[in-house]
Each structure stands twice: as C-alpha cells, then as structure tokens.
C-alpha cells in the first residue's frame, strides 16, 4: 500500500512540475514534430510508400534520448529530496525502506513507459509511423523503462550532489545518444563505438524498435528484452557498490 502511495505521490510531483513536464514530454514531442516537418512529412498526410524514411529512424532515437533525460531528472529529484530532508522524513515514517525505493522506482518506470508510449502514439497518429505490433512495442517500452530505473540508481550513486547528478546525467544522455547513433543511423561509426554502445539502453532499444518496424515479432526482440532486464538488474546491484566506493574515495 505504501509503495503505491509513494509512487502516486512521485507521479503527482512530475505532473505538477512544469519544467519536468517540458523536458520529459513536451520537448520530445516537439522534436518529433520538428523532425517530421524537416523531413518533408505532412501531419496526418500519407507516409512514403518506398525509399528511406528518416522519421522512422529518428523517432525511436528521439524517444530514447528523451528517456535518458527523464533518467537524469529522476536521479536529480532523488538527490534533491535527500538534501531537503524528505528522504529522512520518509524513512522515519512507519514504512519499510524497500517500500520507499520500490515506490520511487515504480513511478519512474511508469513515467518513462508513458513517455515512450506517448511518442509512439503521437508519431503513429500524426505521421502514420509503423512501430510494429502493439504488445511487443509495449513490452519493449517497459523493458526500457526498467533499464532507465537502473541507470537512474547508478547516477544517484555516482553523482551524489544535485549538481553532480545534473552534469553527469546530461553527459550520459549525450554520450549514449552519440554511441548508439540515435540521430544518425546512416553515418558509419568506429567498431569501438559499436562495441561500447552495447552498454546503453539506447542501442538495444533502437535494435528492438527497428526489428519491430520491419515486421519483427515478440520472438525476434526477446533477446533485446532480456538484455535490457539484465542491464537493469546489473545496474541495481552496481549502484550501491558505486555509492560505497564514492564514499570511500571522499573519505580518503
């Protein structure tokens, strides 16, 4: 019960925070519309029947770029809450510490999944973009939001301060987008970049979305889903260890 209460409270906060909403929902939507306009697509017009459709590649890249911004935002809120004594106050309430962590993560997962699905929905409705079968798309969005939760936890441990998390989060968002070539699929990249991009959720997300757009099935993206879930679990294990390492480094 307390998990749901905390998750609802966190979601309410996001919805009542204009800057957060702008960054997580309005900005990616505006970018998608802008890219559609630049690539010559007319809203509610006919999708191109043949040839390269820039939007069909850029839209998932945009969605994943926006997802990483949400990760940064969620991590920053967690650190700000600790600074403002909210976490301390929550911990003094008659609820378990796990409820607090799960509640917060749940709200983040729901938020990111909603953000991805909104982009999928709007780009489909506006430009007739083909994302693939609804169920695999939904599952891919959920797996991506789980991995986003893991990255947010690691970001909190490594960044520690609001400023640190903000800077590191922005850097991570940009580096992940570049490594996974979120906006420039046709540009060839170095093999080391390809290898490194495998640690990013953007890489597996793009891989999965591309497969689904090319009539892929749930079976064809199952390895991507599994990798994203494993990434999430690994990050949740790494996050507290990284936190301890940072504390030790600060002391020495």
């Amino acid at each position: 019960m307390s998990v749901v209460l905390i998750a609802m409270q966190e979601l309410k906060r996001v919805l009542r925070d204009p800057s957060g909403l702008l960054l997580t929902l309005a900005l990616p939507l505006a970018l998608t519309v802008a890219v559609g306009f630049i690539s010559g697509r007319v809203p509610l017009g006919r999708p191109p029947s043949d040839g390269f459709d820039a939007l069909s590649y850029v839209a998932p890249g945009m969605a994943l770029f926006a997802m990483m911004f949400s990760v940064r935002q969620a991590a920053k809120t967690t650190v700000d809450d600790a600074d403002r004594g909210i976490t301390r106050r929550l911990r003094s309430a008659p609820i378990g510490e796990i409820s607090i962590a799960v509640g917060r993560t749940l709200s983040g997962v729901v938020m990111v999944a909603a953000q991805l699905l909104l982009l999928v929905g709007v780009s489909s409705a506006l430009y007739g973009l083909r994302w693939g079968s609804p169920l695999p798309v939904l599952l891919l969005c959920l797996a991506l939001s789980l991995s986003a939760g893991g990255w947010a936890a690691l970001l909190v441990s490594l960044g520690r301060t609001s400023r640190g998390v903000g800077t590191l989060g922005t850097a991570l968002t940009l580096v992940f987008a570049i490594l996974s070539r979120s906006f420039a699929a046709v540009v060839p990249s170095a093999p080391w970049m390809d290898a490194l991009s495998r640690i990013t959720p953007n890489h597996w997300g793009l891989h999965g979305f591309s497969a689904l757009a090319l009539s892929g099935t749930l079976g064809s993206i199952a390895p991507d889903l599994l990798r994203l879930v494993l990434m999430s679990v690994t990050l949740w294990i790494l996050a507290p260890l990284a936190g301890r390492l940072m504390t030790w480094r600060r002391k020495t």
Partner: protein, 317 residues
C-alpha cells in the same frame, strides 16, 4: 514508567564519537530540550531515537519499545519535525498534509478532519491550495510542524524548528509548541537558542561534544553551578571582545566568553569583582557601552559547564 528511556546511548563514525554515554528519561507530557551548539550531537541523538541512525552503543526505549528494532509501531508513536523544510515544494499545502497523514495510516474522514484542523490551527487554511514553494519561510516552517504532528503522536521530536526565520514567525511557532505542551504532548526539542529552551522546557539537557554535561529544570541547573551570576558587557568594538576575554582569563573562578563585542562573564558574586572587570576593560582601552548583571540563567549555566558562550548562530565563542 518514563515515555523515553535513554541508556548509555552512543554513536561513533570511525574514530569520531558524535554522541557518547547519553542517559536520560523523558516523562509523558514533558517538554525536554537538548541545548548545545552546532555539532554537539543533538541531531544525531534525534536520528537515533527516530530509528534513522543505528546506535554504536547503548539503547533507548520509547513507550517500552527498543529503538534498535526499527519497529513500525514505534515510528507510529513518534512524530518528527526535521530541521530542514522536508516538504514537497511543487505540491499544495493540503496535498502535503494528506500525503504525510496517509503515510502514518490516516484514512477517510479521520484524515480529512485532521487535515482541516491542522490547516486552521497552523493558520494555513486560506493557503490550503497554494503550492508550497510560494509560501513564506514562516508558513513553510508551520506546515513542516503540522506534517510532523498530524497523526497525533505520543512523542514529538523537534529538531531546531525555528532556525532561520523572522522573529514574528518564531514567536508563532513557540506559541504553537506551548499550546502542544498545554495539551499534554511530550516533546523532545533541540535548540541552540537559550531563551527558547528556558521558555519552553520543563527540563533542559546541556550537550556538548556529544556528551550530556548537565540536566534538570532551569532552576536546578542554575543552582547546580553554585549560585554563579553573570555579567554582560557590551563593548564598542568587536575586536575588543576577544582581548577582554584574554585579560579576564587569569582571574580565579571567572569564566568569560565573547560573541563579537558582547562579553559574558560568569563568577560567584560577580558584583564584587565588577570593578576588576571594568579595570581590565580600561587596561586594554576597550570602550564599555553597557554593563548588565544577570540572575543565573541558562547562559551562565552553559558558560560554567563548557567554558564557552553559545552564539546566536549556534556556534561557540
């Protein structure tokens, strides 16, 4: 049986002992203050009693329940008003109260009635729908207290709730605490303001460097220092304060401390040594603006036990 029983409680961070050998009791309906400078161990003590900090030594029982178990029943018994404004700034006053109330198990009509009562009692009824970040500092402080006591706890921890606010808001908060006291609430209050401790508390514990140096009612504490009096000297220059303290240090049975141009001197029968104090001031060419002899108070007690004065910012002088 006392509501709070603290036995030899201690907390160490590596080689640093933040709190050591703390032993005291708080009776039901009592306001007990921990008075000490910043870093004395007040917040660590509250942290341990709330179950937020694991003690390194000793134990404490609240309503018979050990704090070591981190029991939910114990946490439901307590209400905490933290030093920080621990509120959701992007949400409304009412939303905040509803959330904290629910977290402590309040539901339905009871929750609605309690929230409404708190809004009226804390003078926030007309700002119920306002977003917290738009409130004044004093209003946020009041809401911070309201969120801590909404569920009607048997014991309230208040960790320096008047830090950084204007005198009018401070007065309003002190009146609220006096109201709580009149209603029979048990409060553990931490502060570095001696006037607050004197006004609010049934008993005061003086804490410094993690140790409880003395404990009792203000009267008992004053008697405990052997009828010492204090004289307050107001000098013309801030630099003269430290120099005068150095001059007075050699006098037997005299303890002196300065806070800028304000010097506090504690001694038995201070009136008899007043001429020597004035001579000392004259010898360093300090201009004396005002001299006030005071009855023994917490300021004298703190100076007598620690050898230092407590400044308005919570530091030591």
């Amino acid at each position: 049986m006392s509501l709070v029983e603290v036995n030899d409680l201690g907390k160490s961070y590596g080689s640093l002992a933040a709190v050591q050998g703390l032993t005291f009791q708080i009776e039901e309906g009592e306001v007990f203050s921990l008075l000490g400078p910043n870093g004395a161990g007040k917040s660590t003590t509250i942290g341990m009693l709330c179950g937020l900090v694991d003690p390194s030594a000793g134990d404490a029982r609240i309503g018979g329940i050990s704090i070591r178990g981190r029991s939910r029943q114990l946490r439901r018994t307590c209400g905490i008003v933290p030093q920080e404004i621990a509120l959701y700034e992007e949400l409304s006053v009412r939303d905040n109260l509803v959330f904290w109330g629910r977290l402590y198990g309040l539901r339905g009509k009871t929750l609605g009635t309690r929230v409404q009562a708190a809004l009226s009692r804390f003078g926030l009824a007309d700002r119920a729908t306002s977003v917290v970040r738009t409130l004044s500092g004093g209003m946020k402080r009041r809401l911070n207290i309201a969120a801590g006591i909404l569920h009607g706890p048997r014991l309230v921890f208040m960790d320096e709730p008047t830090v950084g606010i204007d005198p009018q808001s401070r007065r309003a908060i002190l009146d609220l605490i006096l109201e709580l006291k009149a209603q029979g609430s048990t409060v553990l209050y931490t502060t570095h303001y001696m006037a607050e401790a004197e006004e609010l508390s049934d008993r005061v514990g003086i804490i410094d460097h993690g140790r409880l140096l003395a404990m009792g009612s203000c009267k008992e504490l004053a008697q405990g220092i052997g009828g010492q009096e204090s004289v307050l000297l107001q000098l013309g220059n801030e630099e003269d304060g430290g120099r005068l303290v150095q001059e007075l240090e050699g006098m037997p049975g005299v303890k002196a401390a300065s806070d800028g141009s304000r010097v506090t001197v504690a001694a038995a029968r201070v009136s008899q040594i007043l001429p020597r104090i004035v001579e000392a001031a004259a010898s360093i060419r300090a201009s004396l603006r005002d001299i006030e002899i005071r009855e023994p108070n917490l300021e004298t007690v703190f100076l007598a036990y620690t050898g230092r004065a407590l400044t308005a910012s919570g530091g030591e002088a």
